[in-house]
């Protein structure tokens, strides 16, 4: 865990990519039911979780995000039939690679959230924000390039 002096005022930045058909609707449902979750979570709408390019995830970290979460329809329920199966393979390999590079594996996550799972969306976000808060600011991806020692 990295503790920095400005951690007093530090708030984690979380980017949540949500597929339009399930998870984005699930997030809407959380709103409709007035279920609270941390405001650190900012949602980006994509048509399908398979639209999420690893470049977007790295870009988020590059620009200072502390955690990136990807939400899609449950496997088998994809609006486009097979999209989330591709997401599953791509993200498994990408996350494994980030872990291999020594990036904290807790900073990236994939969760399947259906349009009916407003509560689950909230639970997932609470948990994820808690996890990122514990980890602190994300530095490692940036630091991969600067040799400090």
């Amino acid at each position: 865990m990295q503790m920095t002096s400005d951690n007093e005022t530090w708030e984690p930045k979380i980017i949540a990519f949500c597929c339009n058909w399930c998870s984005y609707s699930g997030a809407d449902l959380a709103g409709t039911n007035r279920l609270n979750y941390p405001a650190n979570v900012k949602i980006i709408r994509v048509p399908c979780s398979c639209r999420i390019n690893p470049m977007f995830i790295l870009r988020a970290f590059q620009r200072g995000a502390d955690g990136v979460i990807i939400c899609g329809c449950h496997p088998g329920d994809c609006h486009y039939m097979t999209g989330n199966y591709h997401t599953r393979r791509r993200m498994t390999l990408l996350f494994s690679m980030l872990d291999y590079l020594g990036i904290e594996k807790e900073r990236t996550r994939v969760e399947w959230v259906s349009a009916a799972e407003g509560q689950r969306f909230v639970d997932v976000m609470d948990d994820f924000v808690g996890q990122i808060t514990k980890l602190g600011r994300c530095r490692r991806l940036e630091d991969l390039r600067c040799r400090t020692n």
Binding site: R88, T92, L93, T108
Partner: protein, 324 residues
């Protein structure tokens, strides 16, 4: 072997089977090998070389060469044939314009390894049993061939050609390589150790793009990093993050397509073990989705394009202890 290759190349040029030959010639030093297209038998006889330093994979050059008028002969070492097949799968080669000649290979050496071992002023090398004897300006020096050869050759995955029109010499076997040993060592480290390792390696990157330019899988018309419209455009690192970004994205783009030819690490002027990134993807794919060797057969579906409905691991496997 070199004489045999030259003889065959001249025959093919003389009988009109091909009008060009893709092979190797030397640069300023005899160990400074450059892939070269030869247009005549005279040229071949004069300049063609095939020796222990001819590690360069010629497959990628065929993308441009096979588009040209007339047929070209190419000499392919076993690992080059995998790249050849992968390029065929991706419809990058005009097969009818290529005459592929498989040639055997028992490991290649690079001058850098010899320099690193303290052997300088090399005038010539020859094999003597298991050793490599170097004739240098400082006299004769000897080191074991195993130590002299490239890491990728030490952990060679196959000496079998997967495609050719004609084979010179003896066909080899698919080997039981230990190419994932290094990856496993890294996996066994703590995240901090891994991070420090990669920090040490990647921080040396100078973004010369040699890895990308030599990689047979990196054959885009325009690389996303050179394309201002792609959103990740960066010719050189503008902030500390971008080289890491470059290498992760590059590894991801070639995941499932990389044949593990090892050219990226061979050409890296900073000796960054880039092949360890690719091998991690290969190892994960083998573990999770079944053994897959890119380029083994033409027309294979990449494991990143395929999926199973109920057997694929969830991404959370990484959090739960990783893919081992």
């Amino acid at each position: 072997m070199q004489d045999e290759l030259i003889k065959r190349a001249c025959e093919l040029l003389d009988d009109g089977t091909v009008n060009r030959v893709l092979g190797w010639s030397t640069g300023d030093f005899f160990y400074d090998i450059t892939p070269t297209v030869f247009g005549s038998a005279e040229d071949v006889k004069k300049n063609f070389v095939y020796n222990d330093f001819c590690g360069a994979n010629l497959s990628k050059y065929l993308i441009a060469e096979s588009q040209k008028e007339g047929k070209i002969a190419v000499f392919l070492k076993p690992c080059d044939t995998y790249s050849f097949n992968q390029l065929m799968t991706e419809h990058r080669l005009k097969r009818e314009n290529i005459y592929a000649i498989g040639i055997p290979c028992d490991g290649k050496v690079s001058a850098e390894t010899l320099h690193d071992a303290g052997i300088h002023g090399i005038l010539g090398v020859k094999r003597d049993g298991d050793d490599l004897v170097c004739d240098t300006v400082y006299g004769s020096r000897r080191m074991s061939f195993d130590a002299a050869q490239d890491e990728r050759c030490r952990s060679c995955k196959s000496r079998r050609h997967v495609v050719y029109d004609e084979l010179l010499g003896e066909e080899g076997e698919v080997l039981d390589s230990h190419r994932f040993d290094e990856v496993e060592k890294l996996e066994a480290m703590t995240p901090e150790e891994r991070f420090n390792f990669w920090q040490g390696e990647l921080s040396r990157c100078i973004r010369c793009n040699a890895c990308r330019n030599v990689c047979p899988a990196c054959n885009c018309e325009l690389c996303v990093f050179d394309n201002p419209k792609s959103g990740v455009f960066s010719k050189a690192a503008s902030n500390d993050f971008e080289d890491a970004n470059f290498h992760i994205i590059r590894a991801f783009h070639v995941a499932g397509r990389c044949t593990d030819c090892g050219e990226c690490s061979r050409v890296c002027p900073e000796h960054i073990p880039l092949h360890l990134l690719n091998r991690k993807f290969i190892k994960d794919i083998d573990t999770l989705y079944g053994d897959y060797q890119a380029g083994e057969k033409e027309g294979q579906m990449s494991p990143l394009s395929a999926f199973t409905e109920d057997k694929d691991a969830e991404p959370s496997i990484v959090q739960k202890g990783g893919i081992r």
